[in-house]
Amino acid sequence: MPARLETPVATLAEPIHAWRTWTLVGSRDGSQVRLAPIAGDGRPWPPRRPAQASCTRDRSHVRPELECTCGLHAVESPDELRRTRDPAVLGTVALWGRIVEHEHGYRAALAYPQRLRLLCYLCFTLWGRNGPGDCEVVVRHRGGRMVPLCGPHLELSRRYGYRVPRILSARAIESELLATYAVDPLRELVRANGGTAESISARR
C-alpha cells in the first residue's frame, strides 16, 4: 500500500554503500576535474561536501519522493550499470539521509563517493566489471567532457573517425580526481567500499 511505503520503516546509523557511474568534466589542462551525473540536472558533484538530491520535475516535494524518480541513484551490483549511457567513472558511494530503497538500488537525499576509477565505456559495455585493462588516455572534448579510453579502443576510435581533439594521461586525470574528492582508488570490482556483501546487507 503506498500510504505505508511513505512512512520510513527503518532508521539506520550507518550509511548505505552502493555503486554508480558518472560522467567526467574538467578544464583543458586536465585540472578542475569533477564528477557529473549522467542523467538529471547535470550539476557536478561538489568536492569534500555531500551531493544533494534535486528534482527537475517538482521543486516543492521532499527529495527523494516515493512516486518520483528524483534522488541520487545508486545500485547494489556494478553489473546493473553496464547499460549506463557513456559512463566515464565507476565507483562506490555512501548514501544517507532520506533513501528510497528499490528492488535493485536506491535513490538518496545525500551522497558522497568513496572509491573511484576511470572507466573505458566501451570495455565496460562489452565486458562489465570483468573487462580487461586500465584506461590509458582521457579524450577531452570541447565543453569539458572527458572520455577515458583504453589503448585498443583509442586506436579503434581513430580508425573509425571518432573525434579525438585533445588527449590527456589517464593516470594524471585519475590522480587529480582522487585528490579532488580525497578518496581512494577503486581496485576491487566485486564489493562496494571494500566491505563484504554480508556487511552491506547488514547495514540495511
Binding site: 520510513p8 532508521t11 546509523a13 547499460r83 533513501i99 528499490h102 528492488e103
Partner: protein
C-alpha cells in the same frame, strides 16, 4: 539505470558523515594586524 520498483523508505542518520576529513589549515587566513603606533603628532596631555 534501472533500479526496479520502490520497496521502502529508509532514514539514515549516520553517527559520522562519510566525508573526507578536513585538514586543518595551519596558515592564518588573514595576516595579523600590525601593532598600532602611538600617535606622536599630537602633544601628550
Amino acid at each position: 539505470m534501472d533500479i526496479g520498483r520502490p520497496k521502502r523508505i529508509i532514514e539514515v542518520d549516520p553517527v559520522s558523515l562519510p566525508l573526507p576529513e578536513v585538514v586543518p589549515d595551519l596558515e592564518p587566513a588573514t595576516p595579523e594586524p600590525a601593532p598600532v603606533e602611538p600617535d606622536r603628532s599630537r602633544p601628550a596631555p
